[in-house]
């Protein structure tokens, strides 16, 4: 079978794949042939109706101005963590901490791929492949074929500090494809942080295997870079009694699509995914898309989707979320909440909540709302002397609060709230 992708002129292709070791080369070839069969996303695809894939699949990315954060310390700077730095998608060993920690194995993807036998072999592209159902994600397949760098992390204990992926953007034309693989072994715990502008265009896949009784906590900050065009994918497999929690805060960004596919395969597991996005289209476009699929294939598991978006000045928000409950997944407790707060008439929010349930003894529900600022609350605050802009921001933070509450670590949650508060304050001028 030919593995060459039939590409159209002017679009990305998986023909010229990066050199890598044997198992990785095989995985890349497999991905390339899957992509050939699948094709790149088009606007005719059901899950690409509201987000134009054009800028993500053009051969070259649009340039993105390197964001000047004017000396503001990067998010999480006060959190003690193991730092792994990528500059325009290239791992920077000098800027990073040593790749070791108690109960941790960390390697660059390229190093791991050159080893004949490596645990990452059983996950790289494997969880991504499994995650192509219920809905195809061609840009993740493209990533598996073409990823240029990334880390593989295996956790066997309970490291005392989080692993922190820090992205730096220095080249206004960088087109970055990163692929991380994370394996949290039975009973182990990992907190993963991510922040920083990564590239002009960014395609990321993170495959996460959370074994029996293990815990994975993920907190990600996207922003404040304005020109960002990013598509990120998380593919998680969650085994019995394990916990998977992921939270993303997003500020600014021309186009951000965060996909997450979670397969719950073991009984009594917990999977939560949450997001808080602030979008103002006044100076730059803002388009933010959360696309989430959670599959329950085990008994008595709990899943939560909590997505909040605050939009104004033509900012656009999209939510596509599905809970699929397989026939044997009895006692499933699934809840999906996607809400947007539109601060003016120009902003828009489109939501497609889906429940597909084949088991009969389940509790599953969803709530998708679009609303404006609560005028009663606003008047109450103003009547106490709080000027409208400050009162509005208080209500914005309050609206985002239940997404932020999904972060378990109090210090990290406080950091996220503090940042959002500071960013709102800055915008007030």
């Amino acid at each position: 079978m030919s593995t060459a992708v039939k590409t159209q002129a002017g679009q990305i292709s998986a023909d010229a794949r990066p050199a890598s070791g044997a198992w990785a080369a095989e995985a890349r070839t497999d991905a390339a042939s899957r992509l050939a069969a699948m094709g790149l996303p088009t606007r005719r695809d059901e899950y690409w109706k509201w987000t134009r894939p054009d800028s993500l699949i053009s051969a070259a990315p649009a340039t993105a101005e390197v964001f000047d954060n004017q000396g503001e310390p990067l998010v999480f700077h006060e959190i003690d963590r193991l730092k792994l730095v990528f500059v325009d998608g290239v791992f920077d060993a000098d800027a990073s901490d040593d790749l070791e920690g108690e109960g941790l194995e960390i390697e660059r993807l390229s190093t791991a791929s050159e080893k004949d036998i490596h645990w990452a072999k059983d996950l790289y592209g494997v969880l991504e492949t499994a995650g192509q159902t219920p809905v195809q994600s061609p840009l993740a397949v493209y990533n598996s074929a073409m990823a240029t760098d990334g880390v593989v992390v295996r956790v066997t204990g309970k490291p005392t500090r989080p692993v922190s992926l820090i992205y730096r953007h220095e080249d206004s034309a960088s087109d970055v494809i990163l692929h991380h693989v994370i394996k949290v072994e039975e009973g182990a715990t990992l907190t993963l942080l991510e922040n920083g502008a990564a590239a002009a265009r960014f395609n990321q896949v993170t495959e996460v295997d959370v074994a029996k009784g293990a815990e994975f906590h993920h907190v990600r900050a996207q922003g404040r870079d304005h020109d960002r065009q990013a598509i990120t994918h998380i593919f998680a497999r969650v085994d019995a009694e394990a916990t998977f929690k992921s939270f993303t805060m997003t500020v600014n960004g021309k186009l951000t699509r965060n996909e997450c596919v979670i397969d719950i395969i073991g009984d009594d597991a917990v999977a939560h995914i949450a997001g808080a996005a602030l979008g103002d289209g006044a100076e730059n476009e803002f388009h933010h898309d959360d696309t989430v699929f959670i599959t329950h294939d085990a008994v008595a598991c709990e899943s939560r989707q909590v997505f909040k978006k605050v939009l104004k000045n033509g900012a656009k928000g999209v939510f596509q979320g599905k809970i699929l409950v397989k026939p044997d997944a009895q006692k499933t407790d699934g809840y999906q909440k996607s809400q947007s707060l539109l601060l003016d008439d120009d902003a828009s929010f489109q939501a497609k909540p889906e429940l597909e349930i084949y088991a009969d003894d389940v509790i599953c529900s969803h709530g998708s709302t679009t609303g404006a600022i609560d005028e009663e609350a606003l008047f109450y605050l103003r009547s106490r002397g709080v000027p409208t802009p400050i009162a509005t921001d208080l209500l914005v933070l309050a609206f985002l609060a239940d997404a932020i509450e999904e972060i378990e670590d109090e210090d990290i949650a406080a950091e996220v709230t503090g940042r959002l508060d500071a960013w709102l304050t800055r915008r007030r001028g």
């Binding site: 009663e376 008047f379 103003r382 106490r384 709080v386 208080l394 933070l397 609206f399």
Partner: protein, 252 residues
């Protein structure tokens, strides 16, 4: 302190006149009460004075210490010293009561060109005021009015009043939904704030609140106007005979 002159107000959305020429003056240091049957316009008067949307002033004016109130934004009125204790305090999920209080206190100080209060000073200040009103630490931590009982909500209103130290306080049916003990507590909170530089306008249906907060003057409002004014004995008359006699007397 507060001067209302021939105030006419209608609803913005429909052609419904609610206030039809209210004249009222509350001097500094005095407590005035407004009583009146349902629908007489009492709450509308409090909302119009505090700047709520939805009303249109068609005639007349209102001043606070000579400043034209009705041209100001609600937050400017607050900074000028006006405070409305709501009949139905608003619940604000996600905003901690303490954050709310600190934001309000500092916003007003800033508007008046004063220094913002430090976190430590604020904490000391709020704890002392909260203690007087038997408001515990938990109530300060919880989101504003969320899950508060009726009595807790009203105590929280008085706490805000105590923190903001306004010069003109309007209490809109602060007694509604209160049991006897809560009414006593709230009244003590109000009485503690009585001062020669501070005035009160107490809107109520019932005389019983006025047993605790002794008014200097009682006004009867009916059909959008103040129809009768007198001393505290007027409230007793209402309590004993209802509004019918007074209204009949006026119609005659």
């Amino acid at each position: 302190m507060l001067k209302i002159n021939n105030l006419h107000v209608k609803l913005e959305e429909e052609d419904k006149r609610i206030l039809k020429g209210v004249d009222l003056e509350v001097p500094a240091g005095k407590v005035h009460a407004i009583m009146g049957p349902n629908g007489s316009g009492k709450s509308t008067l409090s909302y119009v004075l505090s700047g709520r949307d939805g009303y249109e002033v068609t005639e007349g004016d209102a001043t606070l210490d000579g400043e034209e109130l009705l041209d100001m934004e609600p937050e400017e009125r607050a900074a000028a010293g006006l405070f409305l204790a709501f009949q139905y305090p608003v619940e604000i999920p996600g905003v901690g009561n303490m954050t709310f209080l600190r934001t309000a206190v500092n916003a007003q100080r800033k508007a008046r060109g004063e220094e913002e209060m430090s976190a430590a000073d604020f904490l000391k200040f709020v704890r002392a005021k909260a203690k007087d009103l038997k408001i515990d630490a938990d109530m300060l931590k919880r989101p504003v009015n969320v899950g508060f009982s009726g009595g807790e909500k009203k105590r929280n209103e008085i706490l805000q009043m105590a923190m903001l130290e306004p010069k003109m306080c309007i209490l809109d049916e602060t007694d509604s939904g209160l049991d006897v003990d809560a009414m006593k507590l709230v009244s003590e909170g109000v009485n503690a704030l009585r001062d020669e530089g501070r005035s009160f306008l107490v809107i109520t249906h019932y005389q019983r609140l006025l047993d605790h907060i002794k008014p200097d003057v009682v006004h009867i409002m009916a059909a959008g106007r103040i129809v009768k004014s007198g001393g505290p004995e007027l409230a007793l008359e209402v309590e004993n005979n209802g509004y019918a006699d007074i209204l009949a007397e006026i119609d005659a």
